[in-house]
């Protein structure tokens, strides 16, 4: 019997008949079996990696900071769990917090995976199941998918099986959130880790599908630059504003505008990851995106309230729930294009474009739900062209004028209600007082710190539209908000990993810092720029994505250049790489997996635990989600954590309810096995956490340098990392770090320029024995320097154990 394979087949003698075989049950598994490289945990179930999680969690213990001491999940309650009491179902506050954390993680994972499923479905319909995955010069196409599921996808259709696995597992995880049942916090934590891991698979599927089909840059370090900022929007043209995370609908708008020669007649701006992805669309062959990025979620309400958009199109995820209400007040029609957001609008998916445009332009209906994305592609641009002159003619007034601004500020009675409800407790009263005296500078500073949530408006007893006041008072700085952002380049390619892998594992490139996540910053957007600039100068590899990638492009040096213009985008030290949108974060974890696969020749297929063990002990990477606010951000972070990558979030991240922090003073937790012989190997307390919060960037910078230290560093690598740790601590905290000596194994680990000085300190303050003739350490360090050591958490990987 001949072998059947997937693909499209014509049958002789039967005209117009084509058979498509999309999937053969067990085919992928059979292929892997033939290749003989399937690891021990393909498609792990909820308990499949539990041992790994428990091991990790014994060192990095959960630290709970509840947002609420109560549980209101079922009708037994609500229950007061304060003081870690048990509720009516028997759950205590610790376990409930881990359950709450799990719920956030799987919500985020579902958002990415739902996005992936939608895109995959849409793109398969359009391009077919056998459309090849095309991601640039890489053989390892889907590191997360392959490591977790054992599947080695080559086509769009191959991704379906992987997304089905994710969906099934997410359902199982959601089931565990039901009242009662699980009582052990540690097992909720393990489940959360599972959800985080699934998130990276879901994200990877989303981005592989769109990069392969939508002409996005493919591992391209020269991906083009695009304009960014509220100030770069040309309001003299009809303005079409897109908001969300799913580029499918926008791609059709861009096509329609191109085909109908409207590209220079309509201003296309975007917020959040839809914006990031639309500047990637069809950029794989170069060119300059004409679509512009307005900015992050923090600009969403301000952009709408400005009255500049003529039409708003939303898709999914980070989109405000009140877009329709806000837009309605300013006669801006809204089109919703995804089942996740429908705003109660009438479904017009089967209506013709002319009728929809007429109904929306006339104001008969405030918006429309259009799920047919081809129709969206036509309606949105045409509607913008029609509505823009009508809105101008009507004289739609958005923000207050100068006189009204002064009057509104004068109305303020300085009761402090706005400051109490402000997420950042911004000093609005002071700014109001200054505004009355004609000084707008305080509001201009507030503008950058304000996340535009609008809670102040809701609570003002004098009905002052506080957000409008902030925005109006800051018009000068808003008009100057113009920068550039590099289009997302997608994966790090296999050849790049081959070139840089050794430097990462040996530590001679001091580390990878991944700046990811949202815009809920503690002190405005510039901190991110300061952080990136400092670490780039120090030769760290800076990887970025999503909202962080946007905000990095908003600041310029004295020569008027942004970081994207100053630093190249290759996978090398001192480079700044924008991988893309939210779902492109999978390429960051994917990079770590690729280092294990390509540089270290580890088998990654269905082999999660071994790869996570490798990443944790050898790759000095730290994620920073400085303004993380969403459930998606915590899902991404948790996926990194299971893979052994530590993550720092800003102070708002404490509201995720739990951190994972080690205790450097408990020496028994800082030991590994040497895989060469199974002997115990003391290691430095780094990373000292898997998830923690930090208050300021000044505190963050030395912490990042420290937590890039890994047991595998060679002497040169450790010296470089220690140099940065010490220098950053001196620069930003004004002192030598208290614990620098704990990372010293031998004198060659010491920063060269300070070696003698540090040896003296080691002798005097720590009692180490020094041979001053040879300037060598005789005794003192608790660790040996041995570059041949094979650090591992897994006893089974030690020689003689298998």
């Amino acid at each position: 019997m001949s072998k059947i394979s997937t693909g499209r087949f014509s049958i002789e003698d039967l005209e117009n008949v084509q058979i498509t075989i999309g999937k053969i049950v067990g085919a992928i598994e059979k292929k892997v079996e033939e290749e003989g490289d399937m690891g021990p945990t393909p498609k792990p179930g909820v308990s499949g990696l539990r041992d790994w999680d428990h091991q990790v969690l014994s060192r990095y213990q959960p630290v709970y900071t509840p947002m609420c001491d109560q549980c209101c999940y079922c009708t037994f309650g609500k229950c007061d769990l304060g003081g870690n009491k048990e509720g009516a179902c028997g759950i205590n506050l610790g376990a409930h917090q881990s359950r709450e954390f799990l719920l956030r993680v799987i919500t985020g994972a579902a958002a990415h995976s739902g996005h992936g499923r939608h895109l995959l479905h849409y793109l398969i319909e359009r391009y077919g199941r056998d459309h090849p995955l095309d991601l640039g010069p890489s053989n390892l196409l889907a590191p997360n998918v392959q490591m977790v599921t054992g599947i080695k996808p080559k086509t769009l259709g191959d991704l379906e099986e992987a997304i089905e696995y994710v969906e099934e597992q997410l359902t199982q995880l959601l089931a565990t959130v039901h009242m009662g049942q699980e009582g052990a916090a540690v097992d909720f934590e393990s489940k959360a880790m599972h959800g985080g891991m699934l998130d990276h698979v879901g994200m990877e599927i989303s981005d592989l599908a769109q990069v392969s089909c939508l002409g996005m840059p493919k591992s391209d370090p020269d991906a083009p630059l695009a304009e960014i900022g509220m100030g770069c929007i040309d309001a003299t043209k009809p303005v079409l504003l897109v908001i969300g995370h799913n580029v499918a609908g926008v791609a059709n708008m861009i096509d329609y505008m191109h085909e109908n020669k409207l590209s220079d007649k309509i201003e296309l701006g975007g917020l959040c990851c839809t914006a990031i992805d639309m500047i990637r669309y069809q950029m794989d062959t170069g060119g300059k995106p004409y679509a512009k990025v307005v900015g992050t979620l923090a600009k969403e309400l301000k952009m709408i309230r400005s009255g500049i958009p003529d039409v708003i199109v939303v898709d999914e995820q980070c989109v405000r729930a009140d877009v329709l209400d806000e837009a309605k007040r300013l006669s801006i029609p809204v089109i919703t294009t995804n089942e996740k957001i429908m705003y109660g609008l009438r479904n017009r998916s089967k209506d013709n474009a002319d009728t929809i445009i007429e109904d929306l332009a006339s104001g008969k209906e405030a918006g429309a739900l259009i799920l047919d994305l081809d129709l969206v592609g036509e309606v949105a641009p045409r509607l913008a062209l029609k509505v823009a002159p009508m809105r101008k003619e009507k004289g739609i007034k958005a923000l207050p004028n100068d006189e009204e601004l002064a009057a509104l500020a004068a109305k303020c009675v300085h009761c402090g209600a706005c400051e109490l409800v402000c997420p950042n407790n911004l000093e609005i009263m002071d700014a109001m007082k200054a505004c009355v005296e004609g000084d707008l500078t305080k509001f201009e500073i507030l503008h950058d710190h304000c996340v535009a949530c609008g809670r102040c408006d809701q609570d003002c007893p004098k009905d002052i539209p506080v957000l409008d006041v902030i925005e109006k008072a800051s018009q000068k700085v808003i008009s100057q908000e113009k920068g550039v952002v590099r289009s997302g380049r997608g994966q790090i390619s296999d050849p790049e990993i081959r070139q840089e892998g050794v430097n990462l594992v040996m530590g001679t490139t001091p580390g990878i810092i991944a700046l990811v996540g949202c815009s809920n910053y503690p002190e405005g957007t510039k901190d991110l720029y300061r952080l990136a600039e400092e670490m780039l100068k120090r030769n760290y590899i800076m990887v970025t994505s999503g909202c962080s990638a946007m905000d990095l492009g908003m600041y310029k040096d004295e020569e008027g250049k942004t970081l994207y213009e100053r630093y190249p985008a290759k996978f090398l030290g001192g480079n700044l790489i924008n991988v893309g949108s939210c779902v492109s974060n999978s390429h960051i974890s994917g990079t770590a997996i690729k280092v294990a696969a390509i540089f270290a020749q580890r088998n990654i297929t269905g082999n999660y635990e071994e790869i996570a063990d490798y990443v944790m002990n050898r790759i000095g990477a730290v994620g920073v989600a400085w303004g993380a606010y969403s459930q998606k951000a915590v899902a991404i972070g948790t996926g990194c954590n299971r893979l052994g990558i530590p993550v720092v979030v800003g102070p708002h991240g404490s509201k995720y309810r739990r951190a994972l922090i080690g205790k450097p003073y408990e020496e028994e937790h800082w030991k590994l096995y040497d895989a060469r012989n199974g002997e115990t190997l003391p290691i430095p307390a780094s990373p000292e956490f898997l998830l923690t919060t930090v208050e300021t960037v000044e505190e963050l910078m030395p912490m990042l340098a420290k937590n890039c230290i890994r047991p595998s560093d060679n002497n040169m690598g450790r010296m470089i990392k220690l140099t940065h740790y010490i220098e950053l601590s001196q620069k930003y905290l004004g002192q030598m770090p208290d614990d620098w000596h704990r990372f010293v194994r031998t004198e060659t680990d010491l920063p060269l320029a300070k070696r003698e000085e540090l040896l003296k300190i080691l002798e005097k303050e720590h009692g180490w024995e020094i041979d001053w003739k040879r300037k060598k350490i005789i005794s003192g360090p608790k660790m040996k320097s041995d570059v041949s050591a094979q650090p591992t958490n897994l006893k089974r990987l030690c020689k003689g154990e298998c």
Binding site: Y64, P66, M67, D80, L81, L420, P651
Partner: protein, 170 residues
Amino acid sequence: MVDATKNTLVYTTWGRKTAKPVNPNVAAKMVSKAKRPLLVTGSEIVDNEQLAQRAVAIGKKGVQIAATGHSITVFHGKDVNAKYINIHALAHYLGDKNWKGFDGEGSYDMIVFLGHKKYYLDQVLSGLKNFSDLKTIAIERHFMQNATLSFGNLKPEVHVEALDEFIENL
């Protein structure tokens, strides 16, 4: 005498157990009575000279300072006993009876907070409230509902006055 207890308005609640509003002299007496008090400072003191001076003054009374964020920069050369630590790690260690403290003498029994972001400290205190037996006092400008004792919501100038009274009574 400053009445620091009048305004205890909160934006959202955490649960049933809420801080008792406290006046500066009472708070100071409780700290004085503690065996191992600890002042935890946040970065809000860095650019606020008034708060920085008061934090140093508390340190000069012999209270160990845990300088979180980058607040350690305030204490260099000030002859106080201050150590840098990340606040989330500190909260973790404070709940651990095996932690030996900054001086190896053991953990602390009364934790005082000054100069923190309100929302951040709310979370840290929520953890300590629910998972430790520690007594916590917030001498902040805002009412910190998850502390054991807290000043109420104060205007900046009244807050400074309250801190002075607190220091006087230490």
